[in-house]
Amino acid sequence: MFSSPSKQHIQGRVSLVLAAMVGLLAAAGIALSLALRQQPELQVATLLPEPLPLPEFALTDHEGDAFSRADFVGQTSLVFFGFTQCPDICPVTLQQLAVVRRNLMEAGSSVIPEIVFVSVDPERDDVDTVAAYVGAFGDGVRGVRGELDALNVLTQPLGVFHARPETDDGYDVEHTSAVLVINPDAEFAGLFRAPHSVDRIVADWPGLARQL
Protein backbone atom coordinates (compact mmCIF):
# COMPACT_ATOMS: atom_id res chain seq x y z
CA MET A 1 0.00 0.00 0.00
CA PHE A 2 1.28 3.34 -0.98
CA SER A 3 1.28 6.04 1.57
CA SER A 4 -0.13 9.45 0.52
CA PRO A 5 2.55 12.14 0.02
CA SER A 6 3.09 14.40 2.95
CA LYS A 7 2.50 18.17 2.71
CA GLN A 8 6.23 18.73 3.20
CA HIS A 9 6.99 16.36 0.29
CA ILE A 10 4.60 18.16 -2.01
CA GLN A 11 6.05 21.55 -1.08
CA GLY A 12 9.51 20.19 -1.84
CA ARG A 13 8.45 19.06 -5.29
CA VAL A 14 6.77 22.39 -6.03
CA SER A 15 9.92 24.17 -4.97
CA LEU A 16 11.98 22.00 -7.26
CA VAL A 17 9.68 22.65 -10.20
CA LEU A 18 9.66 26.36 -9.52
CA ALA A 19 13.42 26.41 -9.22
CA ALA A 20 13.73 24.55 -12.51
CA MET A 21 11.37 26.99 -14.22
CA VAL A 22 13.25 29.98 -12.84
CA GLY A 23 16.49 28.41 -14.02
CA LEU A 24 15.11 27.82 -17.51
CA LEU A 25 13.75 31.34 -17.74
CA ALA A 26 17.07 32.75 -16.56
CA ALA A 27 18.95 30.65 -19.10
CA ALA A 28 16.58 31.74 -21.86
CA GLY A 29 16.99 35.34 -20.79
CA ILE A 30 20.76 35.11 -20.84
CA ALA A 31 20.70 33.42 -24.24
CA LEU A 32 18.37 36.09 -25.61
CA SER A 33 20.48 38.82 -24.10
CA LEU A 34 23.63 37.37 -25.65
CA ALA A 35 21.93 37.00 -29.01
CA LEU A 36 20.74 40.58 -28.93
CA ARG A 37 24.17 41.81 -27.87
CA GLN A 38 25.93 39.88 -30.57
CA GLN A 39 23.59 40.62 -33.45
CA PRO A 40 21.57 43.71 -32.58
CA GLU A 41 20.25 45.35 -35.72
CA LEU A 42 23.01 44.55 -38.15
CA GLN A 43 21.84 44.30 -41.73
CA VAL A 44 25.04 43.71 -43.61
CA ALA A 45 27.88 43.61 -41.12
CA THR A 46 29.17 40.27 -39.90
CA LEU A 47 30.82 40.08 -36.50
CA LEU A 48 33.39 37.38 -35.89
CA PRO A 49 32.50 35.18 -32.91
CA GLU A 50 35.91 36.01 -31.47
CA PRO A 51 38.04 38.89 -32.78
CA LEU A 52 41.24 37.69 -34.41
CA PRO A 53 44.41 39.55 -33.39
CA LEU A 54 46.29 40.89 -36.40
CA PRO A 55 49.68 39.32 -37.00
CA GLU A 56 52.86 41.34 -36.69
CA PHE A 57 53.56 42.58 -40.20
CA ALA A 58 55.83 45.16 -41.83
CA LEU A 59 54.45 47.16 -44.77
CA THR A 60 54.85 50.73 -46.04
CA ASP A 61 52.22 53.43 -46.20
CA HIS A 62 51.64 55.89 -49.03
CA GLU A 63 53.92 58.45 -47.44
CA GLY A 64 56.78 55.96 -47.36
CA ASP A 65 56.54 55.39 -43.62
CA ALA A 66 56.58 51.99 -41.97
CA PHE A 67 53.11 50.56 -41.45
CA SER A 68 52.61 47.78 -38.91
CA ARG A 69 50.08 46.25 -36.57
CA ALA A 70 50.66 49.13 -34.15
CA ASP A 71 49.16 51.55 -36.66
CA PHE A 72 45.78 49.95 -36.16
CA VAL A 73 45.84 50.37 -32.38
CA GLY A 74 43.55 53.02 -30.96
CA GLN A 75 41.23 53.50 -33.88
CA THR A 76 38.67 51.61 -35.89
CA SER A 77 39.64 50.86 -39.47
CA LEU A 78 37.90 49.67 -42.59
CA VAL A 79 40.39 47.76 -44.73
CA PHE A 80 40.03 46.95 -48.40
CA PHE A 81 42.50 44.90 -50.44
CA GLY A 82 42.76 45.85 -54.12
CA PHE A 83 45.00 47.44 -56.73
CA THR A 84 45.30 50.79 -58.43
CA GLN A 85 44.92 49.48 -61.99
CA CYS A 86 41.57 47.94 -61.13
CA PRO A 87 38.94 49.70 -63.24
CA ASP A 88 35.74 48.65 -61.55
CA ILE A 89 35.32 47.18 -58.09
CA CYS A 90 38.27 48.88 -56.34
CA PRO A 91 37.45 52.52 -57.08
CA VAL A 92 33.77 51.81 -56.54
CA THR A 93 34.44 50.32 -53.10
CA LEU A 94 36.93 52.99 -52.03
CA GLN A 95 34.56 55.72 -53.07
CA GLN A 96 31.80 54.05 -51.07
CA LEU A 97 34.01 53.82 -48.00
CA ALA A 98 35.02 57.46 -48.36
CA VAL A 99 31.34 58.40 -48.51
CA VAL A 100 30.60 56.21 -45.49
CA ARG A 101 33.31 58.04 -43.56
CA ARG A 102 32.03 61.44 -44.60
CA ASN A 103 28.43 60.54 -43.74
CA LEU A 104 29.45 59.28 -40.30
CA MET A 105 31.34 62.50 -39.65
CA GLU A 106 28.36 64.58 -40.72
CA ALA A 107 26.11 62.49 -38.49
CA GLY A 108 28.39 63.11 -35.52
CA SER A 109 29.30 59.47 -35.02
CA SER A 110 31.57 58.91 -32.04
CA VAL A 111 33.55 56.34 -34.03
CA ILE A 112 34.96 57.56 -37.34
CA PRO A 113 36.84 54.83 -39.19
CA GLU A 114 40.09 55.26 -41.00
CA ILE A 115 39.97 53.78 -44.48
CA VAL A 116 42.98 51.61 -45.32
CA PHE A 117 43.64 50.50 -48.88
CA VAL A 118 46.14 47.64 -49.07
CA SER A 119 47.52 47.02 -52.54
CA VAL A 120 47.85 43.40 -53.54
CA ASP A 121 49.71 44.32 -56.73
CA PRO A 122 53.25 45.06 -55.54
CA GLU A 123 54.68 44.97 -59.06
CA ARG A 124 52.74 47.99 -60.30
CA ASP A 125 51.80 49.74 -57.07
CA ASP A 126 54.85 51.50 -55.72
CA VAL A 127 54.61 54.11 -52.97
CA ASP A 128 54.13 57.04 -55.37
CA THR A 129 51.43 55.26 -57.33
CA VAL A 130 49.53 54.31 -54.19
CA ALA A 131 49.92 57.85 -52.84
CA ALA A 132 48.48 59.41 -55.98
CA TYR A 133 45.64 56.91 -56.01
CA VAL A 134 44.43 57.17 -52.41
CA GLY A 135 44.78 60.95 -52.52
CA ALA A 136 41.88 61.00 -54.95
CA PHE A 137 39.52 59.65 -52.31
CA GLY A 138 39.98 62.48 -49.85
CA ASP A 139 41.21 62.67 -46.30
CA GLY A 140 41.16 59.65 -44.07
CA VAL A 141 42.21 57.15 -46.70
CA ARG A 142 45.59 55.54 -46.12
CA GLY A 143 47.37 53.53 -48.77
CA VAL A 144 49.58 50.60 -47.89
CA ARG A 145 51.85 48.41 -49.99
CA GLY A 146 54.54 45.80 -49.59
CA GLU A 147 56.35 43.08 -51.45
CA LEU A 148 54.56 39.78 -51.81
CA ASP A 149 56.18 37.98 -48.89
CA ALA A 150 55.53 40.88 -46.53
CA LEU A 151 51.99 41.20 -47.81
CA ASN A 152 51.27 37.55 -47.22
CA VAL A 153 52.25 37.89 -43.56
CA LEU A 154 49.17 40.05 -43.17
CA THR A 155 46.76 38.49 -45.64
CA GLN A 156 47.17 34.78 -45.04
CA PRO A 157 46.24 34.65 -41.34
CA LEU A 158 43.19 36.78 -42.10
CA GLY A 159 42.06 34.55 -44.96
CA VAL A 160 42.38 37.39 -47.45
CA PHE A 161 42.74 36.02 -50.96
CA HIS A 162 44.81 37.54 -53.73
CA ALA A 163 46.19 36.00 -56.89
CA ARG A 164 47.80 37.07 -60.13
CA PRO A 165 46.64 34.89 -63.04
CA GLU A 166 48.54 35.44 -66.28
CA THR A 167 46.69 36.76 -69.33
CA ASP A 168 47.61 37.22 -72.99
CA ASP A 169 48.75 40.77 -72.40
CA GLY A 170 49.99 40.66 -68.82
CA TYR A 171 48.15 39.62 -65.73
CA ASP A 172 44.94 40.16 -63.82
CA VAL A 173 44.63 40.59 -60.10
CA GLU A 174 42.01 38.71 -58.15
CA HIS A 175 41.27 39.63 -54.57
CA THR A 176 38.91 39.45 -51.66
CA SER A 177 36.04 41.87 -52.14
CA ALA A 178 34.96 42.11 -48.51
CA VAL A 179 35.85 45.09 -46.34
CA LEU A 180 37.46 44.07 -43.06
CA VAL A 181 36.65 45.83 -39.81
CA ILE A 182 39.65 46.20 -37.51
CA ASN A 183 38.90 47.26 -33.95
CA PRO A 184 41.05 49.61 -31.82
CA ASP A 185 42.81 46.61 -30.29
CA ALA A 186 44.17 45.78 -33.75
CA GLU A 187 41.92 42.77 -34.07
CA PHE A 188 39.98 41.59 -37.11
CA ALA A 189 36.51 41.92 -35.59
CA GLY A 190 34.06 41.87 -38.47
CA LEU A 191 33.49 42.43 -42.15
CA PHE A 192 31.19 43.79 -44.79
CA ARG A 193 30.67 41.50 -47.74
CA ALA A 194 30.24 42.77 -51.29
CA PRO A 195 28.23 44.13 -52.94
CA HIS A 196 28.59 47.10 -50.66
CA SER A 197 26.00 49.74 -49.91
CA VAL A 198 26.83 53.06 -48.30
CA ASP A 199 23.41 53.36 -46.69
CA ARG A 200 23.53 49.88 -45.19
CA ILE A 201 27.03 50.24 -43.84
CA VAL A 202 26.13 53.59 -42.26
CA ALA A 203 22.93 52.08 -40.81
CA ASP A 204 24.88 49.22 -39.28
CA TRP A 205 27.68 51.36 -37.95
CA PRO A 206 26.34 52.38 -34.51
CA GLY A 207 25.40 48.79 -33.63
CA LEU A 208 28.67 47.48 -34.96
CA ALA A 209 30.85 50.11 -33.30
CA ARG A 210 29.31 49.36 -29.91
CA GLN A 211 30.60 45.81 -30.10
CA LEU A 212 34.10 46.38 -31.37
Binding site: T84, P87, A136
Partner: protein, 148 residues
Protein backbone atom coordinates in the same frame (compact mmCIF):
# COMPACT_ATOMS: atom_id res chain seq x y z
CA UNK B 1 25.18 38.53 -90.95
CA UNK B 2 23.16 41.65 -91.47
CA UNK B 3 24.47 44.57 -89.53
CA UNK B 4 21.99 45.93 -87.05
CA UNK B 5 23.74 49.23 -87.24
CA UNK B 6 23.54 49.37 -90.99
CA UNK B 7 20.80 51.93 -91.33
CA UNK B 8 21.77 54.01 -88.32
CA UNK B 9 25.38 54.97 -88.28
CA UNK B 10 25.31 57.79 -85.79
CA UNK B 11 23.49 56.72 -82.70
CA UNK B 12 22.17 59.97 -81.41
CA UNK B 13 21.01 61.02 -84.83
CA UNK B 14 19.38 57.72 -85.56
CA UNK B 15 15.69 58.00 -86.34
CA UNK B 16 14.75 54.41 -86.78
CA UNK B 17 14.41 51.84 -89.48
CA UNK B 18 11.37 50.58 -91.28
CA UNK B 19 8.10 51.15 -89.46
CA UNK B 20 9.62 51.18 -85.97
CA UNK B 21 10.15 54.75 -84.81
CA UNK B 22 12.94 53.63 -82.50
CA UNK B 23 16.50 53.26 -83.75
CA UNK B 24 17.61 49.64 -83.93
CA UNK B 25 20.21 50.27 -81.27
CA UNK B 26 19.94 52.83 -78.51
CA UNK B 27 22.70 53.74 -76.15
CA UNK B 28 22.00 55.65 -72.98
CA UNK B 29 23.32 56.41 -69.49
CA UNK B 30 26.84 56.86 -70.79
CA UNK B 31 29.50 57.52 -68.16
CA UNK B 32 33.12 57.57 -69.18
CA UNK B 33 35.44 58.16 -66.26
CA UNK B 34 38.84 59.80 -66.29
CA UNK B 35 41.64 57.54 -65.05
CA UNK B 36 42.38 58.02 -61.38
CA UNK B 37 45.76 59.44 -60.43
CA UNK B 38 48.29 56.65 -60.44
CA UNK B 39 46.14 54.48 -62.66
CA UNK B 40 46.56 53.74 -66.34
CA UNK B 41 43.07 52.26 -66.57
CA UNK B 42 39.60 53.60 -66.58
CA UNK B 43 36.11 52.46 -67.24
CA UNK B 44 32.98 53.28 -69.17
CA UNK B 45 29.45 52.30 -68.28
CA UNK B 46 26.45 52.56 -70.57
CA UNK B 47 23.22 50.86 -71.51
CA UNK B 48 22.76 49.27 -74.92
CA UNK B 49 19.23 48.53 -76.09
CA UNK B 50 18.64 46.18 -78.99
CA UNK B 51 15.32 47.17 -80.53
CA UNK B 52 15.48 44.64 -83.31
CA UNK B 53 14.26 41.08 -83.55
CA UNK B 54 17.76 39.67 -83.95
CA UNK B 55 20.53 39.22 -81.41
CA UNK B 56 22.99 42.09 -81.33
CA UNK B 57 26.59 40.98 -81.03
CA UNK B 58 29.02 43.73 -80.03
CA UNK B 59 32.37 42.44 -81.14
CA UNK B 60 34.69 45.40 -81.12
CA UNK B 61 34.93 48.76 -79.42
CA UNK B 62 37.66 51.33 -79.86
CA UNK B 63 38.43 54.90 -78.95
CA UNK B 64 40.98 57.40 -80.27
CA UNK B 65 41.52 58.54 -76.68
CA UNK B 66 42.55 55.12 -75.37
CA UNK B 67 44.95 52.51 -76.66
CA UNK B 68 42.52 49.75 -75.86
CA UNK B 69 38.87 49.21 -75.05
CA UNK B 70 37.93 45.78 -73.76
CA UNK B 71 34.62 44.33 -72.71
CA UNK B 72 35.04 42.98 -69.21
CA UNK B 73 32.91 41.42 -66.57
CA UNK B 74 33.45 41.60 -62.84
CA UNK B 75 32.57 38.30 -61.23
CA UNK B 76 32.10 37.93 -57.49
CA UNK B 77 32.20 34.43 -56.15
CA UNK B 78 32.85 33.43 -52.56
CA UNK B 79 33.78 37.01 -51.66
CA UNK B 80 36.46 37.13 -54.35
CA UNK B 81 36.41 39.68 -57.16
CA UNK B 82 37.67 38.52 -60.53
CA UNK B 83 37.66 40.12 -63.95
CA UNK B 84 37.00 38.23 -67.13
CA UNK B 85 37.47 39.59 -70.62
CA UNK B 86 34.56 38.88 -72.93
CA UNK B 87 35.07 38.22 -76.62
CA UNK B 88 31.74 39.82 -77.39
CA UNK B 89 28.64 41.16 -75.79
CA UNK B 90 25.40 39.62 -77.01
CA UNK B 91 22.16 41.48 -76.42
CA UNK B 92 19.01 39.47 -77.08
CA UNK B 93 16.29 40.85 -79.38
CA UNK B 94 14.17 43.48 -77.73
CA UNK B 95 16.35 43.62 -74.64
CA UNK B 96 18.80 46.06 -73.12
CA UNK B 97 22.04 45.34 -71.35
CA UNK B 98 23.27 47.71 -68.69
CA UNK B 99 27.03 47.90 -68.34
CA UNK B 100 27.45 48.96 -64.73
CA UNK B 101 29.55 48.80 -61.60
CA UNK B 102 30.34 45.31 -60.41
CA UNK B 103 29.12 43.71 -63.64
CA UNK B 104 29.88 44.02 -67.34
CA UNK B 105 31.81 47.17 -68.20
CA UNK B 106 34.20 48.64 -70.73
CA UNK B 107 37.77 48.70 -69.52
CA UNK B 108 39.73 51.58 -71.05
CA UNK B 109 43.48 51.10 -71.11
CA UNK B 110 46.38 53.33 -72.04
CA UNK B 111 44.97 56.85 -72.15
CA UNK B 112 46.42 58.86 -75.01
CA UNK B 113 48.14 61.99 -73.75
CA UNK B 114 47.11 63.34 -70.39
CA UNK B 115 43.32 63.22 -70.28
CA UNK B 116 41.53 65.77 -68.12
CA UNK B 117 38.05 66.05 -66.76
CA UNK B 118 35.64 67.28 -69.40
CA UNK B 119 37.76 66.14 -72.32
CA UNK B 120 35.70 64.68 -75.16
CA UNK B 121 35.84 60.94 -75.69
CA UNK B 122 34.54 59.00 -78.65
CA UNK B 123 33.68 55.32 -78.61
CA UNK B 124 33.25 53.38 -81.84
CA UNK B 125 31.02 50.40 -81.11
CA UNK B 126 30.89 47.78 -83.82
CA UNK B 127 28.71 44.76 -84.22
CA UNK B 128 29.85 41.42 -85.57
CA UNK B 129 28.76 42.32 -89.09
CA UNK B 130 30.82 45.49 -89.19
CA UNK B 131 28.12 48.02 -88.46
CA UNK B 132 29.19 50.87 -86.28
CA UNK B 133 27.68 53.32 -83.88
CA UNK B 134 29.49 56.33 -82.51
CA UNK B 135 29.13 57.48 -78.93
CA UNK B 136 30.46 60.81 -77.80
CA UNK B 137 30.74 61.92 -74.23
CA UNK B 138 33.07 63.75 -71.88
CA UNK B 139 35.38 62.45 -69.21
CA UNK B 140 33.76 62.55 -65.80
CA UNK B 141 35.29 62.36 -62.39
CA UNK B 142 35.27 58.93 -60.90
CA UNK B 143 35.13 60.32 -57.41
CA UNK B 144 31.78 61.64 -56.36
CA UNK B 145 31.74 61.76 -52.61
CA UNK B 146 28.04 62.46 -52.51
CA UNK B 147 27.38 59.20 -54.36
CA UNK B 148 26.36 55.86 -53.00
Amino acid sequence: MKSLFACCVALLLATGCGGDPRPPVEISDVRIYAPLPGSNMSVAYLTIANNTDEPLVIADISSPQFAGVEIHETIMTNDIARMRQLDALTIPPGRATELREGAEHLMLTGPVGDPALGDPVTLFIRDAAGGEVVVRSNLESRIKLDGQ
